[in-house]
Symmetry: C2
Subunit: 341 residues, 2 copies
């Protein structure tokens, strides 16, 4: 049976939401896997007592320390050895767990995952991607979204290769299409790094490692021309955070115009309710929580990172994602492809 370690202390709503998500995952799946919940006993055990966990494949492991959002990643990893973050990843390293899931400090999780689990052989730099909505079915993944700055062309190509494997095996996308984010579509556009990356991506395409569709631009992301958008971490991080801020911005605009229409009597309360509902639906594709989390790609183990705002549903989905990553042997496939250069 698979064992998944879950960080009870990670996220804005921890530990309550994490416990709920964990219980839901075990109940919904019929105890399909075992979960080791890791955290401070005085915080976690009283909340666990509110659930009927006797029939669940659930173990609790006490970790006296907590890595907070304010902790500096590289320092936290070294000084907080008794934290749920470090203990969870050590379980993976010792093969006592198959995967680790957390909605805590992303930088610290990245640093700890690298430090404790190491890299898959052949991987130059592990990476993180993010989900983006698109016109039509499915989702687009953007990689990298902040783990790597100043990416070299060979880094960008590996990101595409790793995400292609994840999409093929983990997400069941038969033919993931990779686009290189650039300032124009034509070959030869952009910086020297991008020009070189274009050549290497074409080369990877010719070897059958990826399906490369060429350069794409900012306006192509939501159109969904590519399922994989490759870029430097600064670009990806900016687009990700910019995208996340759009619902709030437009929501403020909408509220103002709705209040005017209500005040002038042009709109009644029931119409306002329908309109608000439509608005909510419209932004549903930008709801990051429903995606759960993402695995660090390239780490020699399974470490899934969630948004700080993760709800219990997000935690549950992250646990399922961990299970999926293990069963589909995504990391084994990455190792195969990256070592056959």
């Amino acid at each position: 049976m698979l064992t998944i370690a879950v960080d009870a202390m990670g996220g804005d709503n921890a530990p309550a939401c994490v416990i709920e998500g964990t219980v839901q995952a075990l109940q919904e799946s019929g105890n399909r896997f075992e979960i080791v919940l890791i955290g401070q006993s005085d915080k976690v055990e009283p909340l666990l007592a509110q659930h009927d966990v006797s029939s669940l494949n659930l173990r609790f492991l006490h970790a006296p320390e907590v890595v907070t959002m304010e902790d500096v990643p590289a320092i936290a990893v070294k000084t907080k050895q008794q934290s749920s973050l470090v203990k969870g990843l050590q379980l993976c390293k010792a093969k006592k767990a198959h995967a680790f899931v957390s909605a805590g400090n992303t930088g610290a999780q990245m640093a700890a995952s690298l430090f404790i689990l190491g890299r898959i052989p052949g991987v130059l730099r592990p990476t993180i991607y993010a989900y983006f909505p698109r016109l039509g079915e499915g989702l687009t993944n953007i990689v990298d979204v902040g783990a790597n700055m100043d990416c070299k062309p060979e880094n960008l190509v590996q990101f595409a290769e790793m995400l292609t494997i994840y999409q093929r095996y983990g997400a069941g996308i038969e033919k993931p299409l990779t686009g290189l984010l650039n300032i124009g579509e034509e070959e030869g556009k952009g910086s020297e790094t991008l020009k070189q990356a274009y050549k290497l991506l074409k080369n990877a395409h010719d070897k059958g490692k990826i399906d490369f569709i060429g350069n794409i631009e900012g306006h192509d992301i939501l159109k969904g021309h590519a399922t994989i958008v490759v870029c430097d971490g600064l670009v990806g991080n900016t687009i990700l955070k910019f995208g996340e801020s759009i619902p709030q911005f437009l929501g403020t605009q909408l509220k103002q115009s709705m209040e005017k229409l209500l005040a002038s009597g042009q709109m009644d309360q029931s119409a306002a309710k329908i309109t608000s509902g439509m608005f909510k639906d419209m932004f549903e594709p930008f709801d990051v929580e429903k995606f759960g989390g993402v695995p660090f790609l390239g780490v020699d183990g399974i470490s899934i990172v969630g948004h700080g705002r993760s709800t219990s549903r997000a935690i549950k989905n992250m646990i399922y994602m961990a299970e999926h990553m293990i069963e589909k042997r995504v990391n084994e496939h990455i190792a195969e492809v990256l070592t056959e250069e």
Copy 2:
């Protein structure tokens, strides 16, 4: 009297829209300036004949060649010496016009402006910015949006300095605030280039050249914490194009949910009309056309570039912007600030 050269052949709707915008600007302003309209006589003159231009300060200058959107900038500048683009900028160089306005091939206009007008003394690299909406009053400018890739720290600082001058003198913003786009707020975040840029921006702040508020992230752009957002051309270009694609994406979502509500009878036609109007208002801040265009900052002359989709209103506003740039002596102020390093 000021003379403004206008490229009749630039833009998707040229020359008709350009002629209309030019006529409107002269009529509305009461012939406050003189316009030299430049283009192919067989295309422009029949359209001009449809307007009563006898009372307007308008001259026509024939240019047999046209730089198209497909032209390669560096080549077009050299081979199409008889184009409206080259002839218009040459008028500026010869002091026969004070400014040039075009909605044509942006890359070619940038290349030709640099080639013909040169740089303001002290400017390392001229740049282009773009307008972004924000919560509350005013607008945010992002610089650079595609003219410069692989920016050095000193380039980023000059972009901030030039745009600060433009906002102070050209846009009447008393205290423009500059933010450095990064992956986190804390000093010390990001690549070596960004760390160094942070230091130089702080230095420029201490000298009173800019008001630097530190690092900002993607989600701060629409919040309007800064009026000037500084970043590399790839990042700015991507955010700009991504932002432009949002109305279409969300509009498609909205249409689908509205059609469902109409079909099920939950919404009637009059409510649908009100809702459509509200959503139109909501996206109005993303309407790039109302801003007219932007000047190339750092070029030793005034060369205003518009969006290819420019309407007559956009052309008119670009002409006003040119007038404003001349009167407020923006370039003279840039030269002063950049040479007193």
